[in-house]
């Protein structure tokens, strides 16, 4: 069971939580290696290198090799955690992730930092708006976007313990704490982090989950009871929870730090279609456009991903639900 904490700002970035957990796991398991393609410094890689100099492999700038070399290391028994920015880990490594890693059934963990718009000032070239859409069709892959440091630590441990391919998004910003440290998660199980009965807000990742919680408060002031769900694993997706929320609240808003095409919103819509429980639904996320330079919070405004936007979408789907009931 997860235990909830009332939104306090974290004292560390999710990437640091990742790095700390990887070092802890590497102490237990000599097969864990950290494979980088020059951007290790951005996720505190040197901390790992200090403890395990021989197990920190920096290949230089070569994302295609990052993926295939990690696959090769897995084939001789190691557990590689390979990292680069989400834009490269998905777009640039796409075929390598597909063939060398997944099709070949290698035990590789892909760590994709700075997902979505969170690399703000680096601009549109560095905004991973479509990484989930590119990775999601790969059979058997696990996709996670941990919402806080507790979830991240659990995700990294689970990835290390489980043979198979994991794609883990790692936010470089400090987010809000959602879960108590001793929370127990389940792979493929979403977590309801606020109860409600009129609408369900389903979120992925730390950047936007808190906006959903704030949106729920805005709605509460208007007498609307909003349920908030942290999807936790985008693949496998928690069909039971989505179907239950659709049936119980009758309206859904998804919110993701990703394009509204091919990511969480699409995945939830697929679940609703496949399970005969289509309800009014809206997708909040990066619309059909490229990113641009700005601070992440400015970009949330530009892309219509703020708590206000989420609350408005919730009111729209509730109105549609009511119209349908008439």
């Amino acid at each position: 069971m997860v235990k909830l904490v009332k939104g306090i700002i974290e004292d560390i970035e999710l990437t640091r939580a990742y790095n700390q957990q990887l070092i802890a796991l590497a102490r237990e398991n000599p097969k864990i290696v950290d494979v980088e393609a020059d951007v290790g410094n951005c996720i505190f890689g040197p901390e790992f290198q200090k403890v395990f100099p021989d197990r920190y492999i920096n290949l230089g700038l070569c994302e295609q090799s990052l993926s295939s070399v990690s696959a090769g290391m897995s084939a001789v028994g190691l557990i590689p955690f390979c990292h680069t920015f989400a834009v490269f880990a998905s777009r640039r490594m796409c075929d390598q992730n597909y063939i060398s890693v997944a099709y070949a059934k290698n035990n590789v963990k892909i760590i994709a930092s700075a997902p979505g718009i969170s690399s703000g000032e680096n601009g549109g070239t560095h905004h991973a708006c479509e990484d989930i859409a590119l990775v999601r069709p790969i059979p058997n892959i696990v996709i996670m976007d941990p919402a806080d440091s507790t979830a991240m630590r659990w995700a990294v441990r689970k990835a290390a313990e489980t043979f198979g391919v994991f794609y883990i998004r790692a936010e470089r910003l400090k987010g809000y704490r959602v879960y108590e440290e001793d929370s127990e998660f389940e792979l493929g199980k979403a977590n309801v982090i606020r109860n409600g009965k009129d609408v369900t807000l389903i979120a992925e990742g730390s950047l936007i989950l808190n906006n959903c919680l704030k949106a729920a408060e805005i709605l509460e002031k208007k007498g609307i009871s909003a349920r908030v769900v942290d999807i936790f694993t985008i693949k496998p997706i928690d069909v039971d929870t989505i179907v239950r929320c659709a049936r119980e609240t009758g309206a859904i808003v998804t919110a993701e730090n990703h394009s509204i095409t091919g990511g969480l919103g699409s995945a939830v819509a697929e679940v609703l279609c496949d399970n005969n429980c289509v309800v009014p639904m809206k997708r909040i996320g990066i619309p059909n456009r490229f990113g641009e330079v700005a601070q992440p919070d400015e970009l949330l405004e530009v892309m219509h991903m703020t708590e206000k936007d989420i609350a408005e979408a919730a009111e729209t789907v509730i109105a549609e639900k009511k119209r349908n009931e008439k």
């Binding site: 492999i57 090799s65 090769g72």
Partner: protein
């Protein structure tokens, strides 16, 4: 060396037999690597056909994965699986798909099929073995067409930088690729000089001379650098009508006309050697 020559002939016979009976396959590049495979599986590599996952084995990655049929022939001849199974090539449910797959075939160490990736995976294997302090060697066979892939050159850069003296790349330089002659499409230029400049120990050999290939591997093993062997080969080698001619990359149906004579000729050569 006669034994290796016979082994190479047998690989060619099995390859042509299975592909012509199936009616499709990558004949040209399979035939050009037969001699290198004979040296690797006939002499140089450590392996146990009864225990393909033996930890002490050397690894081979066939980065030009479409030439799986030649490798399957070598593995079957050496007893990794029954020779009759070769005739299941590319049939639904087979353990022998056109491109090598480590999860299907006993003796295959890496799944390949997207050119440029296999050699990069092989680099990862060599690196992973080093990290674990293991003495096994990793071999990779790439094609000259494949060497147009950027990822190959990432490997060329990384392997010497990481000191991978346990890694030997064999370039099947048959001067042809799917669309035609490599020099007409995008020449590799002086590939030996390039490899040397990247920091590899380089040997340039006749890729159909088993003694020369064997000697080249010995020299690579003694070097403290990763080894690069340029195999000067002929695409389609062993079927004279298909040697170094356009359209020999993959054959289908009627293109196999004349294969019975070619097989009879190869079998005669084999008998003469026995």
């Amino acid at each position: 060396m006669d034994e290796l020559k016979r082994f190479a002939l047998e690989i060619r016979i099995e390859t042509l037999n299975m592909l012509s009976r199936h009616g499709f396959g990558h004949v040209g590049g399979s035939l050009s690597i037969a001699d290198a495979l004979a040296v690797l599986y006939g002499k140089q590599m450590r392996y146990d056909p009864k225990n393909p996952k033996w930890e002490g084995r050397d690894y081979l990655v066939l980065s030009k994965g479409h030439c799986g049929p030649a490798l399957y022939s070598a593995l079957a001849i050496k007893g990794f699986f029954p020779r009759e199974e070769l005739l299941t090539i590319n049939k639904l449910g087979t353990r022998l798909p056109s491109h090598t797959d480590k999860n299907l075939t006993p003796g295959i160490d890496m799944t390949t099929g997207s050119l440029g990736q296999g050699v990069s995976c092989a680099l990862g294997m060599a690196l992973g073995l080093k990290v674990q302090g293991k003495p096994n060697l990793v071999y990779a066979i790439i094609g000259d067409g494949e060497a147009q892939e950027g990822q190959v050159w990432e490997t060329m850069l990384i392997a010497p930088n990481k000191g991978l003296d346990n890694f030997i790349v064999l370039l099947d330089n048959n001067r042809q690729q799917l669309d035609g002659f490599t020099n007409d499409i995008s020449s590799l230029g002086d590939v030996c000089k390039k490899a040397e400049a990247f920091g590899w120990f380089v040997v340039d050999v006749d890729g159909h001379d088993v003694a020369a290939i064997d000697q080249a591997i010995e020299e690579c093993k003694r070097s403290d650098k990763p080894g690069f062997i340029n195999l000067n080969t002929i695409k389609g080698k062993g079927w004279p009508a298909k040697e170094a001619v356009l359209g020999n990359h993959a054959l289908r149906g009627a293109a196999f006309e004349g294969v019975d004579e070619a097989l009879a000729d190869l079998r005669r050569q084999l008998e003469e050697m026995q």
